[in-house]
């Protein structure tokens, strides 16, 4: 029962948190290096399986002698130790190597929810079903925050058929509304992977090649009841370049792993509530684009000479109607409304952007939506930890440059290592200002703009 194994091909790309545009050289390097890395990964996997033999469960390994890592401070409190661990974890995430990769900015995703009777199992509190709904809501909110140009549709698996719960939409409120009513989603019967994947696939079949097509399956049962051969469905998904990821709540199923491995998705079995959430949220950041994007060496691969994932997209920038304009019917809901956006091509009125125009199919976005994705392209440089007091000039300010929180005056023993500064100072390589660890995290995770240099 391995907690999760990444698809080898994607392990490098998916592990890092930031992004930059690749140029040809980097990609070629990346591809070359991949062979080695894959070997290393395999070795590591082997190592893992050995340790697994000696232990009953893999997850137990992470809990050996955990009490030793916690130490009391002078006052006998554990707080500082806990804080230290938290800071370490966050810092580690920031320092994850950021290789030059390209990510898909425009994503289309179908969330496949298992609504079979096995979801009423109580091994996750309160029930798998309630937990799934709760996490799905959080997932959708977070997903739209990071992928402003993306769209999500929701399909349920219930009583042997696929059931369309929410249409593909770019509006988080709309998607959330579709899964808001838990009574409409009451689990019954057997799930059918094939039926629901077919439904998801057909709803994405019209999409252009530059946008990603993804299916995320939350699967709680151990069976699937399909009308035909599911491997044919799988093959058609591979052909349509749909990436399927599965978060299983019960146990690993061969077909689920095959779905993920053949389409380049991620597969994971949730151990507990927290792990379920982690697995799901790993799917939030934009995936690295499949390795076919090789602007420099692309000619060598004859079959995919034209770079299919880079494309020009036609987009419309709408006119916003103010709240005081005369009410008219919108094309998306047929409701009378004053506010709205006018499609620049057919002048139809839609309620919200980004969306595809219901009349002419033009992709309608507003310029802030485009701007929202720019931080993926121009990330803030990682701050360097100040390791000793010698690095601090005598006239340096005593407070954080951003939030004016006072710095530690003397280095603490518990801090240090793992790229953590014993003085709690992190310095911007550009403007040479010092920041506290809170601001370091905040600037890189949220603001994406250094308060010192304003870039």
């Amino acid at each position: 029962m391995p907690p999760r194994r990444d698809n080898d091909k994607f392990i490098q790309e998916d592990s890092d948190s930031d992004i930059s545009i690749d140029d040809g050289v980097d990609v070629v390097k990346n591809v070359k290096g991949k062979g080695k890395a894959t070997d290393a990964q395999r070795k590591r996997d082997k190592g893992k399986s050995k340790t697994k033999d000696t232990q009953a469960y893999t997850w137990e390994a992470s809990y050996t002698r955990s009490w030793e890592s916690v130490q009391e401070d002078e006052a006998g409190s554990l707080q500082s130790s806990v804080d230290d661990w938290m800071a370490r974890g966050r810092r580690r995430r920031l320092l994850a190597p950021s290789t030059a990769i390209r990510r898909t900015i425009i994503r289309h995703l179908v969330l496949l929810l298992d609504l079979s009777s096995s979801m009423m199992d109580r091994d996750m509190r309160p029930t798998r079903f309630d937990l799934m709904l709760q996490y799905a809501r959080e997932f959708i909110a977070e997903w739209f925050d990071q992928n402003p140009l993306g769209q999500i549709g929701v399909v349920g698996m219930r009583a042997g058929i696929g059931e369309r719960i929410g249409e593909m939409s770019g509006n988080p409120q709309e998607v959330l509304k579709s899964i808001a009513d838990r009574h409409k989603l009451e689990p019954t019967g057997e799930p059918s992977l094939q039926n629901s994947i077919e439904m998801a696939r057909s709803s994405m079949s019209h999409l252009p090649t530059h946008s990603s097509r993804e299916i995320v399956i939350i699967f709680g049962s151990l069976t699937t009841c399909d009308p035909g051969n599911i491997h044919e469905t799988l093959d058609s998904c591979v052909r349509a370049k749909i990436r399927i990821s599965v978060v299983a709540l019960a146990a690993e199923m061969k077909i689920c792993r095959d779905l993920c491995e053949k389409t380049g998705g991620q597969f994971g079995v949730a151990l507990n509530e927290g792990h379920f959430r982690d697995l799901l949220f790993e799917l939030v950041p934009p995936p690295a684009q499949q390795a076919l994007t090789r602007p420099a060496g692309g000619a060598a691969t004859g079959t995919r000479a034209a770079n299919p994932s880079a494309d020009l997209m036609m987009m419309g920038f709408p006119t916003r109607l103010p709240d005081t304009s005369p009410p008219s019917l919108c094309v998306c809901h047929s409701e009378i409304k004053s506010e709205g956006f006018l499609c620049p091509r057919c002048l139809a009125k839609v309620c919200d952007v980004p969306t595809d125009c219901d009349i002419c199919g033009l992709m309608i976005v507003s310029s802030p939506h485009l701007a929202r994705s720019y931080h993926h392209l121009f990330p803030v440089k990682a701050y360097e930890a100040v390791l000793s007091e010698d690095q601090i000039p005598p006239d340096a300010p005593k407070t954080c440059h951003a939030c004016a929180r006072p710095f530690l005056t003397a280095p603490t023993a518990t801090h240090g290592g793992d790229g953590l500064s014993p003085l709690g100072r992190y310095r911007c390589p550009n403007c040479q200002n010092d920041f506290c660890s809170e601001c370091d995290i905040f600037v890189h995770d949220v603001v994406h703009c250094c308060p010192g240099c304003g870039k």
């Binding site: 034209a306 036609m314 720019y374 703009c449």
Partner: protein, 365 residues
């Protein structure tokens, strides 16, 4: 809970010496002159009013100088009280007033020594204000001393940021300012904007719109204090009842990177999101080559485009058709905004603003 606790206000003041100098020019060119001294006096009154309206209210003031941003005052780390207590003033007000004025003067003295004009650092001041809001709204994990003081910093409802800007939009700051706006959205911080002097700021308009704040273009600069108190003193929770002016007119169109035309329908590179007004074979920003098939398809679809790419005129002509009665219905706050100081027509302002936006993108790239 809202009644129990104070609200937090961060004020970002644009202190660009050149702009303030031109703001103080006498009437012929400048109908309502507003020198910095009067501005500061009115602002301090407003800040005092904020502190006075509830004992728990907190305040932070940031100054954006050319090439440098400074925290001028914050109520969590008050400066030591050095002045002799004046019998005629209320000590907390006096403390705020004197601290801010001395810090501003200090910084201006420092600025006088620097000769080369650096771009104004409004963005970095805004980022600092956000970091500060993050600090006061989140429970502090690293300093347990804060909790020992018995003050719980977690419960500060609706923090807000007031930007008092006098400078025109800076094209290079487009991306950082958008990032700041999105993080403010995430923190649920309201950004209010008061453009005290200079042309309308498209970026700050969007900041106010996206965070649910109000944007006010100051027409009568001599009435600054009244504007401040009427529109910005009340916390966002109360504003629903007071119906504080909001804006209707925000331009969401973009300008292409190649000719700086404002486009209704653009062609966007899927890799770097650069905007072009016509299909191009290679992206000028990230040098991605686009497949021939797409170019042919898009070129085939073009015949109907010339009408829409010649957009300013078309948009102007089509908009009134689409919403015939908007023009009389929209005056609200922005009667002023339709005719900015330069006397440019409406579409002209939009053009300027978004063209800058695009050049920002390009230079940033």
């Amino acid at each position: 809970m809202d009644d129990e606790n104070g609200s937090h206000l961060s004020v970002v003041i644009d202190l660009s010496p050149a702009q303030w100098h031109s703001s103080a020019q006498p009437p012929p060119d400048n109908p309502y002159p507003l020198p910095l001294s009067i501005f500061l006096a009115q602002l301090l009154t407003f800040l005092n009013a904020h502190i006075a309206s509830k004992h728990e209210n907190t305040l932070a003031v940031f100054g954006a100088f050319p090439g440098k941003s400074v925290m001028l005052y914050s109520s969590t780390d008050p400066p030591p009280q050095t002045q002799v207590i004046d019998a005629n003033s209320y000590p907390p007000f006096k403390l705020v007033d004197s601290t801010i004025v001395t810090r501003v003067m200090e910084e201006f003295d420092e600025q006088a020594e620097i000769t080369d004009e650096a771009p104004n650092s409004l963005v970095s001041a805004l980022a600092k204000a956000l970091c500060y809001v993050n600090r006061v709204t989140l429970p502090t994990t690293t300093t347990s001393s804060k909790q020992a003081e018995g003050r719980d910093p977690t419960i500060l409802p609706d923090p807000r940021i007031l930007v008092l800007s006098v400078s025109p939009d800076l094209s290079t700051s487009y991306i950082p300012i958008m990032n700041a706006i999105f993080s403010a959205q995430k923190l649920k911080v309201t950004i209010d904007v008061c453009q005290v002097y200079g042309p309308e700021s498209v970026f700050l308009q969007q900041a106010a719109h996206l965070t649910g704040g109000s944007y006010i273009f100051l027409e009568r600069r001599d009435a600054l204090l009244q504007y401040l108190i009427m529109s910005f003193l009340s916390p966002p929770s109360i504003r629903k009842i007071l119906s504080v002016p909001t804006q209707d007119k925000i331009d969401f169109r973009a300008a292409c990177f190649c000719h700086k035309n404002i486009v209704d329908i653009g062609f966007v590179c899927s890799v770097c999101l650069s905007i072009f007004c016509q299909p191009v074979p290679v992206c000028s920003t990230c040098r991605t080559k686009f497949p021939m098939k797409t170019l042919q398809r898009l070129n085939a679809a073009r015949p109907m485009l010339p009408a829409s790419t010649a957009s300013p005129s078309r948009a102007a002509s089509s908009a009134p058709q689409a919403r015939p009665s908007t023009t009389p219905a929209t005056p609200k706050t922005n009667g002023s905004s339709a005719a900015p100081p330069g006397g440019l027509p409406h579409s002209g302002t939009i053009g300027n603003g978004t063209a800058r936006t695009a050049s920002a993108n390009e230079s940033g790239v």
